[in-house]
Symmetry: C2
Subunit: 156 residues, 2 copies
DNA sequence: TAGAACGCTGGAGTGCACTCCAGGCAAGCG
DNA sequence: CGCTTGCCTGGAGTGCACTCCAGCGTTCTA
C-alpha cells in the first residue's frame, strides 16, 4: 500500500496540515525546545504541556535531562490541532482522534468518519456565519444611511 | 429624519435580525411568557433571566404578578443576540452594544463601528474556516484513498 | 562560580457562559 | 382546599480550555 510520499502508514499518517510555516529546521536537526515551539505555534508552554497531559499529543521526546524536545512531526500535529481548534471542535474530540491515530491503521475508517463529520460541521458553521454576515450588512447599511441622514440634516 | 418603516429612531432601531421565525403573535397581543420564549428561541429560561441580569436585554415588561411578558421587539432583539453569539462575539461586547442602544441616537456612530469590527471578524472567521476546510478535505481524501487501497489489497 | 534564564511537576486558580438550587409566590383545577 | 404547574429571586455550581503557582533542577553567560 503506497499512497503518498510522507503520508504512508502508522503514526505518521496524520501530519499534513498545510504548508510548513515558520522557521523549521530540516528533519534530523528537529529537536525544538518548548520555548521554540511556543514561538513557532503561538501556544503557551502551559498549553503545550497540558495538551500532552490530556493525551492530545503523542509522547514527546526528552533530552537527557528530561526536557521536552519537539520534532517536525510534532509541529505538524500541532498545526492540525490548531486547525481543528478553529473549527470549534471540542478538545475531547481531538483527544479521541489522537487516540485513533495512536491505535494504528485499523482505525482509518473511524478517523475518516470523524473528519467527515467535522467537515460537515465546518460547512454549516460557514453557512451560519454567512447568515450572520447578511444581518450585519443590513444593520450596518441602516446605520450608514442614518449617519448620512443626520449629516444632511445638519447641513440643511 | 426618516429612514425605513420600522427602523426609525430610539430604542426600536435595533430590531432587524431576519425573517420572523416561529409562531409569533401579531403586535398588540405580543405578551409571551418566558416558556413561550424558550420554545421560540431555543434558549433556556435560566439563560433568558441571566441575559436580563447582565444587561443584555432591555427591561422586560411584567404581568401584574411580576412574571415576565416578552414582546415581539424583545424577540427581535433575542434573534440579533443569537446571530451575534454565532459570530463568537463575547457576551460583554453584546452588553456594550445593548448599552449603546439604550443610550439613544447619539451612539449611532459607535454602534456602526462596533458592527463594522464584528463584520471584519466574521469575514476572517469564514476565511479561517475555509482554510481548515482545505486541510480537512486533504486529509479526508487521503483516508478515502487509503481505504480504497486497503480494499483492493484485500480483494487482490 | 555566581546568578539569570529556562524547564520540570502536580495541583490549584481563572474567565466565560451558562446552569442549577432552594425556598417561595400565584393561578388553575377537581 | 389541597395539589400541581409555572414563575420568581439571589446565589452557588458546572464544564471547558486554559493559566498560573510553588518549589525545584539544569544550563548558559559573565
Amino acid at each position: 500500500m503506497t499512497v503518498t510520499g510522507t503520508e504512508t502508514t502508522g503514526a505518521g499518517a496524520d501530519s499534513c496540515a498545510g504548508p510548513p510555516q515558520g522557521d523549521r529546521r530540516p528533519d534530523g536537526e528537529d529537536r525544538y525546545t518548548i520555548s521554540e515551539v511556543v514561538a513557532l505555534t503561538g501556544l503557551t508552554a502551559h498549553t503545550l504541556r497540558w495538551y500532552e497531559r490530556i493525551g492530545l499529543m503523542p509522547h514527546i521526546d526528552r533530552s537527557h535531562t528530561g526536557q521536552r524536545r519537539y520534532s517536525n512531526r510534532d509541529l505538524d500535529w500541532l498545526a492540525l490541532v490548531g486547525k481543528l481548534r478553529l473549527t470549534g471542535m471540542p478538545v475531547a474530540d481531538m483527544v479521541r482522534y489522537a487516540e485513533l491515530v495512536r491505535s494504528g491503521d485499523h482505525t482509518y475508517t473511524e478517523r475518516f468518519e470523524l473528519l467527515e463529520r467535522t467537515r460537515e460541521d465546518v460547512l454549516s458553521r460557514i453557512a451560519e456565519l454567512q447568515g450572520t454576515l447578511a444581518v450585519l450588512d443590513r444593520k450596518i447599511s441602516f446605520y450608514a444611511d442614518a449617519g448620512r441622514a443626520l449629516a444632511s440634516e445638519r447641513t440643511r
